[in-house]
Amino acid sequence: MGRQETFYELIRRQGISRRNFLKFCSLSAASLGLAPHFAGTIAHAMETKPRVPVIWLHGLECTCCTESFIRSAHPLAKDVILSMVSLDYDDTIMAAAGHQAEQAIEDIMRDYKGQYILAVEGNPPLGNDGTFCIPGGRPFVEKLKEVAADAAAVIAWGSCASWGCVQAAKPNPTTAVPIHKVITDKPIIKVPGCPPIAEVMTGVITFYVTFGQLPALDRQGRPLMFYGQRVHDKCYRRGHFDAGQFSEKFDDFGARAGYCLYKVGCRGPTTYNACSTTRWNEGVSFPIGSGHGCLGCSEPDFWDNGPFYERLETFPQFGAEMSADRIGATAAAIVGVGIAAHAGITALRQARVKPNTPVAADERVV
């Protein structure tokens, strides 16, 4: 394979004007939250850097990440896939199939050793020797390790690859694990969400293509520019939260008046994501905007931290689903009864002791 052409060369060949190219760079800079002069940096990168080859693997997943990705508006997914990166392998949306597809992945791994990005959607199940997920005739976990070995960087798309998501929820019958459990020697950027926001996905790729490095990550490996704040921090219902106005049920006055959904289980205060700023479907809305609390889909173990419509998570091992507060209050009641009984017995016992009895020698324990 020859030199990868640059993004700029490619779009000029497609007949796009330089003016439109610069517009695209400005929009990309804005969507990444960069200062205006970074539009020039992006333009320079697009003109000079070869397109980055990307291998997009699918493990145990539902393809919601891909569904989200193809709906990106700023930048358009088509620009990212066809122009900014060279998406050479993606089982779901590539034209090739079967042996041709497998040939493609081998070519990329050979020709761009140490240069390509591995994007992983879904995760590997380790149970039963990994046989719960068999793409191309062998366990996914083997393919994942092999492709990761020569990757420059790894992107974990969605909550499956980042945390495990639904297939890793209790009792996790296939022993599905997030990809950082099997890829331990590469930088992994986590883009969690079920699915992640389209503009966040394309934004992460744009950043990498532009600056040739991963964006600043938080302690858990998520890009701070999109996961640096909670949904709660920028929620447009935050005023109702601070005022003390909550909907108690989904059909009460508060729900109609657009009050805070905290009491019906909204996970906004515990969820790091850009939903309340970027929103979904070209900025049309997001769950809270549609009157439903956040489920916390970009947080680890969100399936196990339920119920979704209660403020506190419950402990299923206590039989009836009990929250920490109910268990605590029950224990306090039992202790209260115990104290009362003990006090009663003590009082009866004391009543038998005559008052003003001098301290007898044998009563002193020395």
Binding site: R230, D242, A243, G244, G254, T270, G328, H342, R364, V366
Partner: protein
């Protein structure tokens, strides 16, 4: 002591301390003298913590289970904001008091150190606990201690000091979450989320530890009152004046 003595009564004799803090009292007929147990810093910490815990439990409950909605426009109210502010302020006071208390652990002598350390490997200490359990089951005899009795010592370490550390660390971590990931708060306490997994779990630990402290406080207050009434030593006033009197 304010008590008047008959000239023939021997002068109060000093109370000595045994290996596990048990009071070695003078023989019958000799008045045991008081012992200064809790210094001013510990007493101040005790009552500041007492007040802070009450404020924190009440406001914390309303943060987890908010009051019914207030009427009118959102901009006219800041009820939930004030409840959270009160909780944070009380939490800061509790935290500062706890740090000062830790300083007393280093320099305040053995009574300041007692509840922060347990003689886990000492068989004799466990036997003393067993004796104390017998007394509370009203089948044994009471024993006087200068500091905390071994059972109280055990409970204070496992049901107060440890849950208190959980509460402070998870509490500051949750505060850091509100302050933002770019703040020093998050730099100092953000690791709590890595240790416990996620933000919801940190909240659950915060609630659970609070209930342990509530259960402890119930028993602690009952026992303090009960011992003051049934033992031949002062318990409640010792945490006010610092002096333990024997009678």
């Amino acid at each position: 002591m304010s008590k008047m003595y008959h000239p023939s009564t021997p002068l109060p004799s000093r109370v000595r301390e045994g290996h596990f803090g048990e009071a070695i009292l003078p023989p019958a007929g000799v008045q045991p003298g008081p012992v200064y147990v809790y210094d001013a810093a510990i007493r101040l910490w005790h009552w500041v913590t007492f007040l802070a815990i009450i404020v924190l439990c009440v406001t914390g409950y309303f943060i987890g289970s908010p009051l019914p909605s207030v009427g009118g426009e959102a901009h006219e109210h800041y009820l939930f904001g004030w409840i959270r502010f009160t909780h944070f302020a009380a939490g800061m006071i509790l935290g500062v008091a706890f740090v000062l208390r830790l300083y007393r652990v280093l320099v305040g002598g053995k009574h300041a150190r007692q509840i922060f350390w347990i003689p886990f490997w000492s068989l004799g200490w466990w036997k003393e606990i067993f004796e104390e359990v017998r007394w509370y089951l009203i089948i044994g005899k009471p024993k006087e201690y200068v500091g905390h009795n071994p059972l109280a010592h055990f409970a204070m370490f496992f049901m107060f000091v440890l849950p208190m550390l959980v509460l402070l660390f998870t509490g500051f971590a949750l505060y850091a979450e509100g302050a933002g990931v770019h703040t020093g708060w998050y730099t100092w306490f953000g690791w709590v989320f890595s240790v416990l997994g996620d933000s919801m779990t940190v909240r659950t630990w915060h609630h659970a530890a609070m209930w342990v402290v509530i259960l402890f406080s119930m028993v602690h207050m009952y026992m303090a009152i009960r011992e003051d009434m049934t033992h031949r030593q002062t318990t409640i006033s010792a945490m006010i004046s610092g002096w333990r009197f024997y009678r």
